[in-house]
Amino acid sequence: MKNKTRLAIILIIVFSFLPFCLQAGGTEEKTQEGVGVIKVGILGPMAGPQADIGLTMRDGSILAMEEINARGGIAGKKFEWIVIDDEATPAKSVNGAKKLIFENKIDILLGPANSGCALAVGEVTQPNKIITIVPGQNSLLTKPEWDYVFRSAVTDVEMAKCKMNFLEDNFKRIAVIHETNAYGEHWYQTMLKMMTERGLKFVADESLDTSTFDLMPQATRIQKGDPDILLYLGSYGAAVVNLAKAERSIGLSIAHLGPGYANKSTIDLGGQDVEGAMFVDTTDLNKPQWKEFEQKYRKRFNIVGVFNVSNACQPYDAVYLLAQGLEKTKGQAGEALRDALEQGVAVDGVIGSVGTPGARWSKSRHDALMADDLVMNIVRGGEFVTLPPR
């Protein structure tokens, strides 16, 4: 009996840790032969529900680094990268960043992909003078005292401005629903503040818990508000689709706008239910640079069907911005690279709308894009399409 109990305890321990053991293989390393290397750490969720975000960020940056390496690198130095899966968890992200900085001795960190993780990791990278490129939208990420942190995209405030302009220009009655997680709450507070500043009010103001299957009460209350458009503040694909299903049940047919519609997972799960949904994005799909990037990206990573466009494009352009800085410093990172980036770098690359200068960093501006650089994309035929400028 004792042996059976021992066996049971061992089995419990083994199976409890099984997923962690399976994910331990998530660290990937690509090493270039030779003495001169620029070590880059890539940190983000590489498995699980948010894997789309991390994987596309990883692949977009790898594509740019491979291109630069193929041209001979920077000042004779080639990029070398190490990928760590942080499971979108701040504690694991901090541990991953420490491993990259102190064990792998990285020069530059790309990520973490999520704002929550990036806010925690910034406390580690800033004092260690590691240039950190974050894709997250939280405004606090590029606060003045974090001068080693640069953003590959745009802040939530700039994104909210773009959303508000679009809503104000095209719709009279706006309803909102937000996920009751940190991401949804943050976006809700940002949009609510902006609505109040402009003297506007939501005709329906609802929330949802992403673990809830049935969103009929939310759908009926939204219908009661008689809106022209629903602003969905959240990114959980299953919840986005569950709400769309509930709306369909009660015959509610309105426009949708929200960041959750930009995800591959939402399109995969939702199909027809998310057709016509819109989202503010950093990538203009009419841009020739995008078309060229798309071809290269699909070929390199064997991608078929829809993918998280901007998650891939932003790090791609960010690597080219970094390359400009590294050219100036002859491949040296740390303080020299920060100064070089702050002197001003710009790339008319994949992100940014047609006719705008594209991604750029300077001393006064650590965010690659602003509200005027953004576009409105829509889900059409299961793919993403850019709407004409307003």
């Binding site: 009996m1 498995a47 529900p49 209350r221």
Partner: protein
């Protein structure tokens, strides 16, 4: 609007009730709370996705396989986790810890096998909605309500009209007397785990097409099912359904007519109220 909210409240209540029935059956026979009940549902849903989507089996065969598999998983929990401790007269809290551990193992195994990404389950009916009195209702919701009613009738027949069911009730009422009367008490406990596994499996098959299937789906439903079982009267499977309906309907009515922000806490509010005012539950503990 009212009809839609009431309808969805009823089918969500039925789901809570099905999970709650699992809790009640095991509590009846062994006086322990099986906190892996939510994970039974999750495993049932995962198996349903595998059978229908990966193996492309027809619905009927997939359902039978889910029922058999979940019944076996119930047996595994009883044989490997519960019985060894019961034979040594272990404290109830230790046995409850085993069910918690089983739940964690199940969730982690499901993540390892099926991943964390939500999966699509095949709809049982090809039509997404049915029209009743000029209103559109989700077809899956109608199925959930109908299946719950059928399961309740089967359980009633089993407990009230069969010798085995009466033996089960006798063993739940007084283990010693049942044993002295020649009832195989161990078999009754095993039966409760098999039935709970089956109920979890059926609930999983019903819930899967309603939303999406993921390894963490059992947690919330397990908690709500537990609340339903306590509110209805712990150990009374029929009370669990009443408790589930109360939670489902009140959540939807409050969400639909007052505020969606108040929905999630309602089941716990009812739980506290019932424990304070009528600790034996609405229908009382089953005898």
């Amino acid at each position: 609007m009212l009809s839609q909210i009431v309808f969805s409240g009823i089918y969500m209540g039925c789901i809570y009730g099905l999970v709650g029935m699992g809790f009640a059956l095991i509590f009846n026979s062994s006086k322990i709370f099986n906190f892996a009940q939510g994970e039974f549902l999750m495993l049932g849903a995962m198996l349903y996705v595998t059978f229908t989507t990966s193996l492309n089996l027809p619905f009927g065969i997939a359902l039978i396989l889910c029922i058999v598999s979940m019944g076996l998983i119930g047996v595994c929990l009883e044989v490997l986790g519960i019985n060894p401790l019961r034979r040594r007269n272990a404290e109830t809290i230790r046995i409850v810890m085993v069910t918690l551990a089983f739940g964690i193992i199940s969730k982690n195994l499901a993540e390892a096998i099926w991943g964390k990404y939500p999966l699509k389950a095949k709809e049982i009916l090809k039509v997404p909605h049915v029209q009743i009195a000029g209103h559109l209702f989700r077809a899956q919701g109608v199925i959930i309500i109908a299946v719950t009613a059928i399961l309740l009738m089967i359980l009633w027949y089993f407990f009230e009209r069969t010798m085995y069911g009466k033996a089960y009730r006798a063993s739940a009422f007084n283990v010693t007397m049942a044993y002295l009367s020649g009832i195989n008490v161990r078999a009754m406990v095993m039966t409760s785990f098999v039935l709970s596994g089956i109920l979890g499996g059926v609930a999983g098959v019903l819930v899967g097409p309603l939303a999406f299937v993921s390894s963490d789906m059992g947690a919330m439903l397990g908690v709500k099912g537990f609340c339903a079982a306590v509110i209805g009267g712990m150990g009374n499977p029929f009370g669990a359904v009443i408790g589930g309906l109360l939670i489902g309907l009140s959540e939807n009515m409050v969400g639909g007519f007052i505020s969606t922000r108040l929905m999630q806490g309602l089941s716990f509010m009812f739980l506290i109220l019932v424990l304070l005012i009528r600790p034996q539950g609405l229908l009382g503990v089953s005898e």
